[in-house]
Symmetry: D5
Subunit: 93 residues, 10 copies
């Protein structure tokens, strides 16, 4: 099923630049692996903010939590999940 | 460009059932026409609420406002728009 | 999977008493049928408020939305859904 | 009587990993002891967040505060308690 | 045990004056009976607002909800309950 | 006159334990002196939170501010004051 | 003592114009009488809003509530009171 | 001086269409007159909402309030004003 | 023209006491100079909080910003400004 | 198209003064370059706050995000973007 997720990143201003770069590289790789296997079908930057709206496609709340809590940036993010359903007007439903 | 839109429907409890059905039928037709021509690429029901998350793909704020303010349900909805950008981790970007 | 749901009831003050009683009787029957078939395992009154916290156990967001939007009181409620996962400290997990 | 509790964990990013592991081990042991003796009948992870919804079953507000303020993570959590009552539609009431 | 309760009254502006007076008289009698039997030990007006802070002393969440939902003004109030515990500095504890 | 006060304590996690104990001892002594002389007639712990609801009985806003700003924990608290009046249903009024 | 008060007026759109004019005339007379006797020393319009910031100078919370609840517009206003104290930098203190 | 103003329009759903059209025509004429004389230099629609961001250029808070409270839609709008100053980076300052 | 200002002070808990005293002395001198020249006609402590409500009387938003941003405590304050206008019931208007 | 942007600056109190001056100089140069090429047509200080309201004129959400995230102060700002459209009453439209 689908879940809508908003993630707001709060990196400490004094994070070591090298550590920061490594963290962001791991985050990108982690995200792209989930995008490729179909479990993270959408990710958009919120224009002007260090934040994103994403859609996840998983089997359960447990799988969703496992994926999100495994994000390298998880300790630095505020996250809010909204469960989705098929909209009756959706032409692809 | 892409815009993320949340729409919350507040229909008056005393709306005439026939009027309500006609209104919802027009809303559905209007939405599906925009979905078919590619300007409303995503619409999801927020599970448990009379609300949706949508993504619009339009040329400008003017076009976006024209589409949304033309919705048959527009007078009965609270709407909030968030502009989107390409996420640097998006594998389709 | 499990979903946590908060429901706040806002009945119009001028609702006909007979209509109100019939509505509440249908709500109770609907809720108890879902409790009996295991899809609504918990329902608690929030003390002092016309509101409840509930837990639903369903297969998908679609099933959840179908159950909630079918509630006789649905047009009169504010509803917020939070998806749940197994807690690592849960002794029953 | 029953209380609904939401706990949001805010661990400092620079907490020593060994100290953190010890803290979480003590938290788990503390929670499981209360689950086993029946005073913490439900605990669910909020999917995607470092937070939980719990239900406590205690004799009084004093007992509730003693249990919650004794949590090893108490200094690192935002906590909100809502008192519960039996719902008139609850089939187990 | 003790519960802190905030009640905000929202009477409809078009309520019949006679009906309003009768309602308020019943509310006062109901409240004073509970004050006399010790279950509503404190009630204060919030200065400048049609609202009160109260403290209830009851056996359980069920008893609390029964008392509050029986208030003649209950359909016209927003109510929020906070459970209390003994403060370690309280000289009467 | 009476004032309702909510105090939320935010002690820094890295406060020296000895300093913390001394601070809390001074806070307790200060509070109990005001309770004994009748100016702090009520103090309740908010169950599950490091916070209290209190009622102060003082001559003026100046006296109230002098008492609250003199609290040893004042630099570590969020405080909100609400002025009270006699409730027309209060049987002790 | 001094109290800071914010008042937001919410007149029903369908109020009879004659009734509205009479109501506002009574409000003005009531306010000016209190201004003249010194108990309502300041009243400012909040620019662009149907609202005001006021300062009252009264003996007690009871007197404050009596004055405010006697306002002809009281049933149509949202009101919030903040108790004031002398500021240590005030040159007139 | 300059003021930033947000206006949210809340027209009643049952407003007579003729009355509504006349009201909107008067609002447009009123706004355009102020735009032409330089006191309302900017007005933008908030995309997707029945709302606008505006900038007013007036001599005083009194003049601002007179202009805004004279808007034909004033009784149907939520309005919030923010005073502006020259930004030190503004190349036109 | 007049502006209503709320200032909330957030001094860091670890500020050097000597530095703190010097800062507060400079703040007081700065405030009193503006009070004496008539541009800061009112300042009240919000009872129980490290905050004040003030009224400024200045020529423009630019002058207001220059005065406020020059406050020695400016880097440590949350500030919110509301523009004022003459109230039609004000007997001094 | 046009976007309305609010930026709130939160510089750490312990930022090195030299570093701070250099940062602000780079911010100013960056902003003025965008003002000169027409992509940042308006910038106003919010009177009394370390914040601004701006209007950007860009081709897309991607261009907007690139400009804003490139601001030297970006890591120290809370930013909120609102998409704009032509207002039907705008005399310049």
């Amino acid at each position: 099923m689908l879940f809508h997720v908003r993630m707001d990143v709060r990196l400490p201003a004094d994070l070591d630049p090298g550590e920061r770069d490594a963290l962001l590289a791991r985050e990108k790789a982690y995200s792209q692996e989930l995008q490729r296997d179909g479990r993270w079908p959408h990710i958009w930057r919120i224009a002007g903010e260090y934040a994103n709206f994403s859609v996840f496609d998983v089997e359960s709340g447990d799988e969703l939590h496992q994926l999100i809590s495994g994000l390298p940036l998880f300790p630095y993010m505020d996250i809010h999940v909204t469960p989705l359903a098929t909209h009756p007007s959706d032409i692809r439903a």
